[in-house]
Symmetry: C2
Subunit: 395 residues, 2 copies
């Protein structure tokens, strides 16, 4: 804890003069677009390498253990793509709306930016987040177990406004969203969701979408799995049934123990994770400490987060701090004293519908262990007496 000042043996870092007090720093013309300090260079998104065949069809994970608050910095956002990042000239980008509509339309980016805008902070979570953990503790770090998520403020146009321009026919029940990347990523979206809260966004965290987040245009499907949030969006087709695309048949279905598959499992259920301590962020000090974590629900807002330090025997309610918004990350803290005892740290989220995050074993009883997707079970970190922290499994 803080040292007493003015002692007989003063801290040379207080009494001395540092270089940054002695010399002028860089001037303003050196940083037209700013970057983090050179002392933060280790804080980056990371691929695990072995997960996919190539970097063009892979994942960069958000370093959750190095972040705080509820905004994910745009430079550290999780990314997943299927044919690499499309580098699109916005002047040549078009969005077409066709299919079961009265007036098939083609929008330029300027056309879209002349329509009424809305601003919303939403989490995006990949359905495969924590997917490696179905069969037991695998990955040593919340960046890898839970880092396929980000939370940014979007600016865009309500999809309902765009569809109203085109005029939906009465038999339209589903939409197909298609990307302009080389994969031509596409997914089917029920019309009811599309007319409820879906945005077609061109900005994130105040500026244009980043290329790896779909620049210049992406779908924002609040609370639903990230794969539906089609990036580099070029076409929306209205139809009377789902398209049965690769990404909703071969992928993004949940294989159950009896061999049947759950399909169209869109909603991301309530979930949470302790980001500090965690394997990449061990405890360094005894005494006063801050336990920190994130909670979210695709069904609404977070109402409460409980934390256990003894593997689920005793629970205390965490302090949620910062805005608590619908379908957005919430930040929670437990301020505690650590005497060096071994701990089994867990967190459990409750949302505005009353849903309580289940244990991994409760989840496995219903879903088996064959799935990759929709693992929202309670995470356990073992904190050893030296502070080192590991991913462990206690059901």
């Amino acid at each position: 804890m803080p040292a007493a000042a003015g002692s007989a043996d003063p801290d040379p870092l207080i009494t001395g003069v540092q270089d940054w007090q002695r010399y002028l720093g860089d001037g303003v013309d050196k940083r037209p677009y700013g970057l983090p300090s050179k002392f933060e260079k280790h804080i980056v998104r990371r691929d695990v390498g072995w997960l996919t065949a190539s970097a063009e069809s892979s994942v960069n994970f958000t370093p959750l253990h190095e972040l705080d608050g509820i905004i994910t910095p745009s430079g550290l956002c999780f990314e997943r793509h299927h044919s690499g990042v499309a580098e699109i000239d916005p002047g040549s980008h078009r969005l077409m709306i066709n299919g079961l509509v009265d007036r098939p339309l083609v929008f330029t980016m300027d056309d879209i930016k002349r329509m009424p805008r809305v601003n919303k902070l939403y989490f995006l979570e990949c359905a495969a987040n924590s997917g490696m953990e179905w069969r037991g503790a695998q990955l040593n770090g919340c960046q890898f177990t839970h880092g396929m998520i980000h939370n940014v403020m979007y600016t865009g146009v309500s999809l309902k406004v765009l569809l109203d321009e085109a005029g939906l026919r009465p038999n339209a029940k589903w939409l197909m969203l298609e990307g302009a990347d080389a994969a031509g990523m596409n997914r089917s979206l029920p019309l009811e969701k599309a007319l409820n809260d879906v945005l077609i966004a061109f900005a994130m965290n105040g500026e244009a979408l980043r290329p790896e987040q779909g620049y210049p245009l992406r779908a924002v499907i609040p609370g639903w799995e990230g794969n539906l949030w089609v990036k580099w969006l070029r076409r929306i087709e209205a139809g009377d049934q789902p398209w049965q695309t690769r990404e909703e048949t071969s992928k993004y279905t949940d294989l159950l123990a009896d061999g049947r598959s759950r399909k169209h499992t869109f909603i991301m259920d309530a979930k949470s994770v302790v980001t500090n301590p965690s394997p990449q962020a061990p405890l360094k000090y005894k005494g006063r400490n801050v336990l920190s974590g994130l909670a979210w629900s695709g069904r609404g807002s977070i109402k409460r987060v409980d934390v256990s330090l003894d593997g689920g025997r005793n629970w205390q309610t965490a302090r949620i701090d910062g805005p608590v918004l619908d379908k957005s990350l919430a930040r929670f803290y437990v301020d505690f004293d650590w005497s060096g005892q071994e701990m089994m740290v867990q967190s459990r989220a409750m949302d505005s519908t009353g849903y309580v995050q289940p244990s991994k074993d409760e989840l496995r009883k219903v879903r088996g262990v064959n799935s990759i997707y929709h693992n929202n079970g309670i995470q356990t970190w073992l904190v050893r007496s030296g502070g080192e922290t590991e991913n462990v499994e206690i059901g």
Copy 2:
């Protein structure tokens, strides 16, 4: 507006195949820390060059006309410094609390991060924002007339918690905050404000403070002029009266018409600006358009923003969209049709205390024209029939 699809003369940008659909894009390992698209390279902070003697004691202005929503991207935040950007090794940084306290203390960065954290979104506005406009319309762009402002989510520790550790003596009434930059920037802060809502922040928008925003530690003084938000914070001294530093005597006082000066004018009154259209962002199309702008108040939250298109003769209430938070920017819109007529565009903010943003002439009647600081008068943009937009003065 959007073109009809499927016509006899189809858009080759829809029917053709673009390079980004034909070839793989970059893989995930190429962007451990992401950056904007190369098509957004023109969106940068800018110095005006002539304002100060050197780049190390100058200003970079936020490009408000290119942003949306209420979050300022960290890479585009306004910056002002007096001896350049201190480049501080956080392992060697210390915060001392001394003066009229029972226990003078020295905190490491780790000490501070082990104390209870809070997360808040606040605007920071330089007292000199719009300062050139006291004597008439000067600068052609809201980046330069209003861009000494940013709005980010901070994570930090309540200053009250730090002061409680040190134990304030009963005669302590003021604090002096001092930076570790070569200027040793310092300001006096009334204790009442310090104990109310001041934060000592180490993170912004989810990640560590940027160097030009005070990495690794800065003061956050909600609603008060930016010069008080001491960056690279190294010392807080408690005393019984203000220190009368250069920055609160020679600077940051408001010279009135009768030769007296207003001193300790800390609070930033309610203000607003239309960011689009504006001189750097002229109207490009007749028909459907989006007028967009920002409003804020150092006394509370924004309750209403009115917009005039005819120089203040007629007003309409704008649509505020996105979170409306205390001492944070609020985003407003007016969706309108433009027939090509000349317009005099204005916005007028009202805050939760009932305060209404004054006209520039109303302000001059009270304050004269000698000041640099605290100009929150209503801004007027003249939109010509071709869409070109200019900074003009109509009182």
